[in-house]
């Protein structure tokens, strides 16, 4: 089967605009009446739900930022009563506060629908064996793909992340046909496979859906060659719904956005002006079918472009280009969102002022590694090795708790981290993506 839901995936533009308009009007009414945050924001701009009559009117609406989710932590932006919420997911936040997202039963259904479209784009059907090697839990990756795979009717292997040797053994023995994980983990698996002496010809693997972190065309080529599969880029963020927001088709020429559910815009991240079609800028989403956590003009901080031309695959939905960067300082390390400010907040606990630090991200054997250099200050320094090593250990632990990933902590001498205009450089990303 080529499409999961051709009615929407191959819908004419005018018809799509009509669907979006009706759903947008409905969503704006809902958030205005149910979420004080949105009502106040709209009132401040002098807008009422009645002013929104078309997709064009989107630009009249205020933006929503990740910070708004933190400020209203945990449930302040929910538009449905908590009794209607059947699932909660969360992602890491800069100050230790998580970004919490809630789903009603209908939202879970919508999510399964868009994830099913994603998997179908990658060639999945009811005969597929789908190995979900994204993490299960608060992270939306695992369960998001899982529900999509069940919706398609495939056999789901819910193995979650880690234990690579077992992953490969199961992939071989169970006859996995589609692999879902981060692209760097796919490469890591390929390497481990070689070490185990398992050849790609021994696998039934045909394709993979890879996302949750940036990756390049070169990485795609390598994954495709080493695993002998079609590698499909997928896009999603938990705030919008999770995996399933957009996906490549077999043409691999941009990611089809499921725009009957999520209306995209491209804006200039500085002036916040909407940019004309084809321009490069920050991707903004408005969800038009969500009940639990509808988002109006959510600033993703991801840099992309939009292409409205009909795709060779027959789909008419707008395509976003592979995300080429961020409009803020967020890093994605092993699929986890990391902000330098998180490291800063951890270090603040180790002295009166936060010491200068430098985050060095690299990719070793296809796995992201994070090293954090911390300038030793008087508060941390001692004449005893044990005490300094204790400080190092404490920082490492605190970083792991706050960031959710391991990092190597290296103490360096004061003033050795390069500064420009008095401000230290915070991040060096050596990954060749």
């Amino acid at each position: 089967m080529q499409y999961w839901n051709p009615t929407y995936e191959c819908m004419h533009r005018e018809e799509m605009t009509r669907v979006q308009t009706a759903r947008l009007i409905d969503t704006v009414k809902k958030v205005y009446h149910n979420v004080p945050f949105y009502r106040e924001k709209m009132q401040k701009k002098g807008i009422e739900p009645g002013d929104i009559n078309s997709v064009e009117d989107l630009k009249k609406l205020p933006f929503t930022y990740k910070q708004d989710l933190r400020d209203t932590y945990p449930y302040g932006l929910f538009a449905a009563p908590l009794s209607e919420i059947v699932r909660i997911h969360a992602s890491s936040g800069t100050t230790g506060k998580q970004t919490v997202v809630g789903y009603t039963r209908k939202d879970i259904d919508t999510w399964a629908e868009v994830a099913a479209r994603t998997l179908t784009s990658a060639g999945a059907d009811r005969n597929s064996f789908i190995q979900v090697a994204y993490g299960y839990g608060l992270f939306t990756g695992g369960l998001g793909i899982h529900y999509g795979a069940e919706r398609v009717g495939a056999s789901v292997i819910p193995i979650s992340g880690g234990n690579t040797k077992r992953q490969i053994q199961i992939m071989k023995d169970f006859g996995t046909t589609l692999l879902a994980c981060t692209p760097s983990y796919a490469l890591y698996m390929a390497e481990e496979m070689e070490e185990m002496g398992i050849k790609k010809e021994e696998l039934q693997l045909k394709s993979g859906v890879f996302g949750a972190e940036p990756w390049s065309e070169n990485m795609r080529k390598e994954i495709e060659e080493r695993l002998g599969i079609l590698a499909i880029d997928i896009y999603g963020l938990s705030e919008v719904i999770g995996p399933g927001v957009a996906t490549e088709c077999s043409c691999r020429c941009g990611l089809h956005i499921q725009e009957d559910h999520f209306i995209p815009e491209i804006i200039d991240p500085v002036t916040e002006e909407v940019l004309p079609y084809g321009s490069k800028g920050e991707l903004v989403f408005t969800t038009v079918t969500k009940e639990g956590l509808p988002l109006i003009r959510y600033r993703t901080r991801d840099i992309s472009t939009l292409n409205y031309e009909k795709c060779e695959c027959g789909r008419t939905t707008v395509r976003m280009s592979k995300v080429s960067g961020r409009s803020d300082d967020m890093l994605i390390i092993r699929g986890v969102n990391v902000f330098p400010s998180q490291v800063e907040s951890v270090l603040l606990e180790f002295g009166e002022t936060a010491p200068h630090y430098l985050m060095i991200v690299d990719r070793v054997d296809n796995l992201d590694v994070l090293e954090i250099w911390v300038e030793v200050n008087q508060d941390m320094f001692s004449d005893q090795v044990k005490r300094i090593e204790d400080v190092e250990k404490k920082i490492r632990k605190a970083i792991e708790i706050t960031l959710g990933i391991n990092a190597k902590v290296k103490l360096v001498e004061p003033k050795t981290i390069e500064r420009s205009e008095g401000k230290a450089k915070r991040v060096i990303d050596k990954r060749k993506i």
Partner: protein, 143 residues
């Protein structure tokens, strides 16, 4: 009776130790004892100098992470069993030694040793009571 020791944080990379000795030399500070504790990533340089307060100040001005710690300096007979007497006294009093190192020799008959222990005052007291020669700060700085 306690002597001020200066400790400096050093990364394990070439030229760092030279930087410290240069700052001290430029400020006319003399080093009389020195030890380095090192791990794979960093080292701690511990020194006894003739003017610890000035050393601390100039090193800080030159952006080193510096701390000063009180230690005990003892003189032991330069013969077998010389150090044993001092260590036995501490052991009997259950005082643990965090680290120790020897002086650059200045006298022919005695070896000079720096001790960093948990209970400084008590340790110094026990050493004196057991006939170990504990050196005063003044004397040590002049060495």
């Amino acid at each position: 009776m306690l002597v001020k020791q200066i400790s400096v944080f050093l990364e394990n990379k070439s030229g760092r130790l030279d930087e410290v000795t240069k700052v001290l030399a430029d400020n006319n500070i003399n080093i009389s004892a020195l030890s380095i504790a090192d791990t794979t990533d960093f080292g701690i340089l511990r020194i006894i100098v003739n003017d610890p307060d000035k050393a601390e100040k100039v090193l800080k001005e030159n952006d080193f992470a510096v701390s000063s710690t009180e230690v005990i300096a003892i003189a032991v007979p330069d013969q077998p069993g010389g150090l044993e007497k001092a260590l036995k006294a501490l052991n009997e009093a259950s005082i643990g030694i965090e680290y120790m190192y020897a002086f650059v020799g200045k006298t022919e008959e005695e070896a000079l040793v720096i001790l960093r222990v948990e209970a400084l005052e008590e340790a110094a007291d026990k050493l004196v009571k057991n006939g170990v020669k504990v050196l005063s700060a003044d004397k040590v700085y002049k060495l």
